[in-house]
């Protein structure tokens, strides 16, 4: 297992208070827990992944996610079992969409 953490400052969109969890920690899949949490406007992402050595890929996927959604005061936690970036992006978008509605 590998632990990765990311922090993106200066988000603009706040989340509703009710946390959400999407996805399942199964092979090639992941679980995303997304919560509103005060942290100076930042969005933090904590990842525990079974696929070791893909830090650069995660960094890029998370960067793009942040550019799409611009979340502020958001805490995201991920338990991953080797999901591909496509699945990761899909779950993240689903999680946020269930909280905010579809992107504008």
């Amino acid at each position: 297992m590998e632990t990765l953490t990311y922090r993106f400052d200066n988000g603009t969109r706040a989340l509703p208070p009710q946390p959400r969890v999407i996805g399942v920690v199964g092979s090639g899949n992941l679980e995303v827990l997304i919560e509103s949490a005060p942290q100076d406007g930042a969005c933090t992402i904590d990842i525990k992944t079974a696929a070791v050595g893909f830090g650069a890929t995660w960094q890029a996927v998370m960067q793009d996610f942040h550019e799409r959604w611009q979340l502020m005061d958001a805490s995201i936690a991920i338990n991953d079992m080797g999901a591909t970036p496509a699945v990761v992006s899909l779950r993240l978008d689903q999680a946020v969409e269930t909280m905010l509605g579809a992107p504008t």
Binding site: G28, A51, F54, A56, T57, A60, V61, G82, T84, P85, A86, V87, L90, E97, A102
Partner: protein
Amino acid sequence: MSAGSKVWNTLQSNRDSRLARARSVLGAALDGKAVPSARIGDLLHNVLECGDRVCLEGNNQKQADFLGKALAGLDPARINELHMLQSVLALPEHLDVFERGIASKLDFSFSGPQAGRVAKLVASGQLHIGAIHTYLELFSRYFIDLPPRVCLVAAEAADRHGNLYTGPNTEDTPPIVEATAFKNGIVIVQVNRIMDVLPRVDIPGDWVDFVVCSPEPYYIEPLFTRDPALISEIQVLMAMMAIKGIYAEYGVQRLNHGIGFDTAAIELLLPTYAESLGLRGKIARHWALNPHPALIPAIEAGFVESIHSFGSELGMEEYIRARPDVFAVGPDGSMRSNRALCQAAGHYACDMFIGSTLQIDLQGNSSTATVGRIAGFGGAPNMGADARGRRHASPAWLKAGRQAREGRNTIPRGQKLVVQIVETFREHMQPAFVDRLDAWELGEQAGFEIPPVMIYGDDVTHILTEEGIANLLLCRSDEEREQAIRGVAGYTPVGMARDKRMVENLRDRGIIQRAEDIGVDKRLATRDLLAARNMKDLVRASGGLYAPPRRFRNW
């Protein structure tokens, strides 16, 4: 030396002496052409000679497994140095003949399940590869420079005269038997049963020398059955993009599909998504395709007008029999398949091939080779290559040709659409896009003259991933082509090394298209869009006619 002293019938007289040896050893056990299964060893020991070219029918699906086992059980002191010709090596005994020293040389097409063992035997010097072919090449060489001295094939049934009924799974049998029989070789057939009157005659008895009723029916692999339950939502998204961005865009009417779940998803989206786009009757009407169970809902929905098949598929027999307008069936009602003709049809008569692969490089070359496994090709290279000899036009072919030639001073001609559909990462985060194909390393290890490339980049017209579609027809330079590929390669190292500005430029020009660019709503990409979500749905769609093999059932 005068011309008169030259002997011109060595093959014939050699054949005669082989037959005489066999008759003498079998004696009364030989009943016309029928040999008792217990005497197969005696037959083979006597008709074979050391160094013979032997074609063993190991197909994509049907296997002459009884004869294969018998061959592997021969005495290597008596029979050795055989040169095996085989389209597919699927069973362990196909390699036992090399391990036991009975055979030493191999010309073949595909070795999927045995690929690791092939590589080991090559490394140990027990197996020398002549060449790895595509199916059509190998069949062609049977007629030119590699005619078999003896062929060992499989049929459903024979009659007393040696006429053969090959049934739905005719597959490779006709060219093997024809090439052997008309070059004075020996044709030996294993059949599941001997009948007084055959349902139909697929191979005339004149061409057949010996028939053995095997104790067990020949082995057959349900190679083209894909359980819809295993299709992912990413594959659904890619299928939507394929239908809207390529099938509809080019009006593809004649086509061939690869074997994977990506294309199974497309088949299952025809009656739902394609129907909702009003595409019935406008796309995917005529197919060169095995009877894919996943195509049943589209057939039932009236999408599919005709299918010609390379081979059959286990469990589809009754469904095929009940849909004679769609499938090629004989007067007896059962299907006729023919791998050689269907390969030719897929090459010349189809406007598009779409299939998956394992690796694509920056030129668009695609390969399924992995280090340590010599797997060969099968049929994809013929399907996935522009037919340079094609002369008849169709709208899809013309449009592809136009796109490739626009702005260039060339005479008008069409081009086949060759689409590679891949997720950017496979299981276990293996990237589908690479700087250098594993095929290079495999080729070097195995001493091949060229790396084993499945589909050459200059034949590939589109690459479709979950990130988008790259239309390589529209690229005007090697650099554009490379960036178009990087631009759909997602978060793979190849994709992340893209020139972002150039990729955006290619997107502006429609060379790269994202789902949103072609109006595909990603939120619809769920498994609910599949016309069948499990095997039972397929059975229901077939009106109970499709009978899946037991391993695919959960009822």
